[in-house]
Amino acid sequence: MSTATVEEPTVAKIGSNVKAESLWAVTMRRFFKQRNAIVGTIILLILVLTAIFAPYIAPYDPIQVLIGVEDVSRREKPCVHLLGCDPEKSQHLMGIDGNVRDQFSRIVYGSRYSLLIGFTTVSFAIIIGTILGAIAGYAGGITEDVIMRMMDVLLAFPSLLLAIAIVAVLGPGLQNTLLAVGIVTIPQYARIVRSSVLSVKEQEYVEASRALGASPFHILRKRILPNSLTPLIVAATLGIATAILDAAALSFLGFGAQPPAPEWGAMLGTERGQIFSAPHLVFFPGIAISLTVLAFNLLGDGLRDALDPRLKGK
């Protein structure tokens, strides 16, 4: 008796005025319920805005040497007026680097490099990985074996080491670093796409498409690949974090972005010997990298939880 009274209004509600939510609406709602995801989004938003408006935020040109322009010395500590720095002196929020440039401006411009590195490497890896994974899953047989064994070989190297080895062959530079970091992450995406192709290619709706005479390309694009979208989005977001870390490591070692480019890893690498005398030159770029990577990690985790159908309703 009591159960009936509880259930009745629920049934009525579903029947009457509740609009069906689209998948994306549900995902977004669940995404923004998570504190971590919100923090990640905010950091990323700040980062993107910083990158876009870098010329307006940065007080100096990031590669301008301030000798003769201002009365500052090499590796001078940060000077913030609010924190008691002499108001007569010009303000340098994050100090002066080893080449007498304003570090704050360099950090601000560095956000552009970070985002560029993250998005280009992952886009590259996704495109190649999707093509390879789709071919492998759809074609099967020897083609599949060859492609997937190639992926296994790539995975057999620790990713950072393989990236270093590739840059060693191609020569140092930002472009080669992007390529190397991109290449080492291809297998991950190829595997995701292949497994979702395998899981749906025998399904009836795919067979129906085939029976209607759809081309393999059409079936792949319209019927199969949408199924890989969810895991791909999650992997890509987390992949951007790894890519930024790896690229920063390469730049730190001197293989990546070359001076005077204001790239965070490279900035940290050039000044690493000064850690004991000028720790601020290591601290700020390091924090910048960590925050950026953290943002993508939080975002990726949030997306995974929001997109996971098993957690629906929780």
């Binding site: 971590n36 064994r149 190639m150 296994d152 070989v153 057999a156 190297f157 620790p158 990713s159 950072l160 080491l161 393989l162 270093i164 080895a165 060693a168 062959v169 020569g171 974090a241 870390l245 920063a248 490591a249 730190f252 070692l253 001197g254 293989f255 890893g265 940290l268 690498g269 690493r272 850690i275 004991f276 720790p279 290591v282 601290f283 770029p285 390091g286 990298i289 960590s290 925050l291 990577v293 953290l294 990690n297 939080l298 985790d301």
Partner: protein, 359 residues
């Protein structure tokens, strides 16, 4: 079981073959003249011709690959340009440090990561859980090289005059040397044959050497020097292990057999540690094995920062110094170690989890 192990071993052959292809290509894609790149810019025309002939560089690519495979299986990894010594000797000399460092980092990661994961799963949504997950998120986001430098600054500069002072570089302090056990015990060793090379290898594991020779000063010094680099190296695996343990534990704790165990009246400790933990740790084993790659990659950075002459730093220096035989050989050795570790994990996983079908 044996059959499964054998099949896994056979299945890894194509991968090993692929690794050899990649490292072979790596050695062949040296920009410029291979002779000048390997023997140095001042090599004369005659020596170059001699070199090309003995190395088989005038033959076809498949033949060259066959020669490379033959050399590798014989343990001949070529000679280093910079050190003018067989690369194999350099590996035997420097690999132990990297092994010590990676093992220390891995042990630290497991010893801290697993308990943290368990606690946050049991006390879900408590401050401990939130704190652990925050730590885990930061742990995977902070670059190894940044953390390493910050640790060095904190423990070597800021805590310089306290008992917490730790050395920021090197393997041993000035004045302390490690005498290998075979020298101490008067064994003859001139670096020939597998047995003597194994002795050199083990002797270069300073902590192992200190323990078997009972040299406690050396042991203490070696451990003190290992703390900062291994802490820096361990954060990423630690964070990943903590997260994996937590989610795996949460999943198991929600299963029916745990409810049954509770309903039977077993106490909390028995349910958590005897019933849940055992099953929850299975996926963690896999993750621990996979972290080895991250450790070996991270070793390049950690060793560079802390001034340790291990495999990672040698590889880095070889790349900047264009010492291609070292680059080629080290990449090969590291990849093989990585494949072997994954293989061991897979096999032990199948062994630990009877649910996995062995066929």
């Amino acid at each position: 079981m044996i059959q499964y192990t054998l099949r896994r071993l056979i299945a890894s052959i194509p991968v090993l073959f692929g690794i050899l292809l990649v490292t072979f290509a790596l050695g062949r894609s040296v920009p410029g003249d291979p002779c000048k790149a390997i023997l140095g810019e001042r090599a004369s025309q005659a020596t170059c011709e001699e070199f090309i002939k003995t190395r088989g560089l005038d033959r076809s690519i498949p033949e060259q690959f066959a020669i490379y495979m033959r050399d590798v299986t014989r343990g001949d990894l070529g000679n280093s340009i910079k050190f003018s010594r067989p690369v194999m000797d350099i590996i035997i000399e420097r690999m132990p440090l990297t092994i010590e460092l990676s093992l220390a980092a891995l042990i630290l990661a497991v010893l801290v990561g697993v308990p943290l994961g368990i606690i946050s799963a049991i006390r879900r949504n408590s401050p401990i859980d939130v704190g652990t997950m925050l730590f885990a998120n930061i742990g995977v986001s902070i670059p190894v090289f940044f953390l390493g430098l910050m640790l060095a600054y904190l423990f070597a500069v800021m805590l310089a005059d306290t008992p917490f002072h730790l050395p920021p570089s090197g393997r041993l302090p000035a004045g302390v040397t490690s005498t290998p056990f075979y020298e101490l015990w008067g064994w003859e060793n001139n670096g020939e044959g597998i047995w003597q090379n194994l002795q050199i290898f083990l002797g270069n594991l300073y902590i192992f050497n200190a323990i078997i020779t009972g040299d406690w000063t050396l042991l203490k010094a070696a451990i003190r020097h290992l703390i900062l680099p291994s802490v820096a190296l361990s954060t990423i695996p630690m964070a990943i292990i903590a997260r994996m343990t937590r989610s795996s534990m949460l999943e198991v704790l929600g299963l029916d057999y745990i409810r049954t165990a509770r309903a039977k009246g077993l106490n909390f400790r028995q349910v958590t540690f005897k019933h849940a933990l055992r099953n929850a740790l299975l996926p963690v084993v896999t993750i621990v094995g996979l972290q080895l790659g991250a450790l070996l990659g991270g070793a390049v950075l950690t060793e560079t920062i802390f001034g340790l002459a291990g495999v990672g730093r040698t590889l880095f220096e070889a790349i900047t110094g264009r010492d291609y035989p070292i680059v080629q050989a080290f990449t090969l050795v590291i990849a093989i170690i990585f494949v072997a570790a994954n293989l061991i994990v897979d096999i032990s996983y199948a062994y630990l989890d009877p649910r996995i079908k062995l066929d």
